[in-house]
Symmetry: C2
């Protein structure tokens, strides 16, 4: 299959490109290196060194025996998007080219606006190009479990049978985003569902849980194949930050009471799920939602798992403590959470790795790059507050 990855230089994109190449797919992709700029802007860096794109591409071709067709540019520019898709002629597009950070979207009005135009316009461009030139193409779009928020009812996979006053209809399950980043994912969801309904396009919309880990299986062989790993308070997801904190001897910091429940999955299993969705595409006109996560934990349980995994590295004497941080976000800290996850298992998904194993591998990688985390230690502490102010959060007393 010819698969085009939007955001191929990013955390998920670079990993997926290799995963797909290994399975014999032809891979192309575009990137404007925005993720590299954003992380620099907030004063941090990837813990794992990120090779220059030229070196990445050379290593890719050497390892997989075929080039990755790379296009440098911004997919929210329609002419650029048209030029590269017409050149590549994809069977499937994986859209990983969005700004992925909730805190970054909450910095101020300009960051909120940028998140909207970057995320929504790139998707709109692809939908129009699919309609006009590639109507059979499958759009695999990355959403987030965060689109649903934390409702007091079970979370179905995208749709539910709405019963009201004696009548019923099969409807989109209501969303409740908690940041402008999450909101843009909800907006994409509505736009893509509509494009499939009006234009007969096919799409899989992935409501992904929190992903953690790094592609140690690739980077062992050639460091240029390593994907980035952000640990900072803006672009680092919860477990990634906790592991980085453990490695540099900082406290592990759940927000508030630490009882927020979320779905999690390791990077390796995220790749497995994407691949299953790509190799089992929906029908023409079908808009398919998959909830993609492996296990549900509350953030405190998660912190404890990181402490346990870190303790396994006797040589390094990693003995992190857990210290809750005042919550910079506005979110429920005690809530019901019971999302469905049936469709990926129906497609054949079986988790390949446990959280304990994945955390062990991750910490082993981070120990190697400890110096790079130490160099940006200040960035570990979340400082974007949902009320519009900025400044390092304090510990809960």
């Amino acid at each position: 299959m010819k698969i085009f990855i939007a955001g191929v230089d990013g955390y998920l994109g670079w990993t997926l490109a290799q995963w797909l190449a290994r399975r014999g797919h032809t891979v192309g992709g575009a990137d404007n290196f925005a993720r590299r700029s954003w992380v620099k802007e907030i004063g941090s860096q990837s813990a794992v060194p990120v090779a220059k794109i030229h070196d990445r591409l050379a290593a890719f071709e050497a390892r997989y025996g075929a080039p990755l067709q790379f296009y440098r540019g911004d997919l929210s520019d329609y002419e650029f998007a048209r030029r590269v898709l017409m050149a590549f002629e994809p069977d499937a597009i994986v859209h990983l080219g969005e700004m992925p950070s909730a805190p970054y979207s909450m910095i101020d009005a300009k960051h909120a606006a940028y998140t909207h135009t970057n995320n929504l316009v790139s998707t709109l461009n692809m939908l129009h190009l699919m309609r006009d030139a590639f109507p059979g193409c499958h759009l695999l779009k990355l959403g987030t479990m965060g689109e649903y928020g934390t409702p007091n009812v079970d979370i179905p996979e995208g749709f539910f049978n709405c019963k009201l006053r004696g009548r019923e209809d099969w409807m989109m399950f209501p969303r409740k985003p908690g940041s402008f980043y999450h909101a843009t994912k909800v907006h994409d969801t509505y736009n893509i569902e509509m494009a499939c309904r009006l234009w007969g396009l096919r799409s899989t919309d992935i409501m992904q849980g929190v992903v953690y880990g790094t592609n140690y299986w690739d980077q062992e062989k050639d460091e240029r194949l390593a994907t980035r790993f952000d640990f900072d308070g803006v672009f680092g997801t919860a477990i990634n930050r906790f592991c980085a904190q453990a490695v540099v001897g900082e406290p592990i910091t759940p927000f508030g009471d630490g009882h927020q429940r979320r779905g999690f999955l390791p990077l390796q299993d995220s790749m497995q799920c994407f691949t299953l969705a790509l190799e089992n595409p929906p029908k023409a006109g079908e808009y398919r939602t998959l909830n993609q996560f492996e296990e549900v934990y509350d953030v405190t349980e998660l912190a404890e798992k990181v402490v346990e995994a870190a303790g396994g590295f006797r040589t390094f004497k990693l003995e992190p403590e857990i210290r809750n941080l005042c919550n910079p976000r506005k979110e429920a800290e005690e809530h019901y959470y019971n999302p469905d996850c049936n469709k990926l298992p129906d497609l054949g998904y079986v988790p390949a790795i446990t959280m304990a194993e994945a955390l062990h591998e991750l910490i082993a990688v981070l120990v190697k790059y400890k110096g790079r985390i130490v160099a940006c230690k200040d960035a570990l502490m979340p400082d974007v507050r949902w009320d519009g102010t900025r400044g390092a959060m304090e510990y809960v007393k």
Copy 2:
């Protein structure tokens, strides 16, 4: 009250400014004259002549004894938005500054993207400025009944008690937009609900039905006070187009089978509803949704009402026929439709004028400007198709 109108030069904005001035409010507003440009772009013009802004403002001050504080610029430019809101210090903001046409948003990828950035970023800017400088300010935002689509269940006012597998939650009623214009209104809805929830802002989100008519009550006295009236296939709403067709002797053209049901209300009653919402603001932190319409008709009934109203003008021998047009949109033509409308009546809303009366007044105005409709007669025929092609629609055989 000091009320700021975004889009004060537009169809609703210019009418509302005067309505509020008459009730003793201090009115300010901004506009970048985008509506004037869009209508020119698609080759049409307002049937009612639109005075230059300088003349409009002079007439406003002469009539109401106080100036309208006008700011020329684009509210999706944050610095402009900040400057004007800091200068005006509003108690309420009425956001009528969005691109309001479904067909315009469906022309191509660039028009879809423009609709998103124009509509969403202006709202984001206002929400951030309210949070930072006017936390008590009331945002009255114009949405559309079209956000809901045509579900097979009753349509509540924004929220419903979601029951699922033995549990329940008070949730946003699911939306199902039918164009990118409608989608941007859904996106705004999610953004504003979230801003109220996270930041304690107050907002009324109006799900407005199809508005028709012109502000004949103002324009009788001084033509410079007249609001615009678009009759073209892109910016003209259904009844407005039907009346223009009747006046120039063209067939009245429901789409497809003509059984699409919608809620309608005359401009005068739309003004009454806005005023009630402004003078009865929601509490701090409250996000309030009002469904705003007067009567529900299917499009064929509507066409028949226009024929009947036109027949009342014996002197002009207006005898329009109804000829259904192939539907350029993709929409259900036979469907259930039963939206609630309880909250505005609870605030005191009593329709001031019947559809028959409003249509009579409207046709009287259009007869006066018949020459301006004839001059752009080609624009009467819808030519933006939902499948991305362009060209005048054919009649149903």
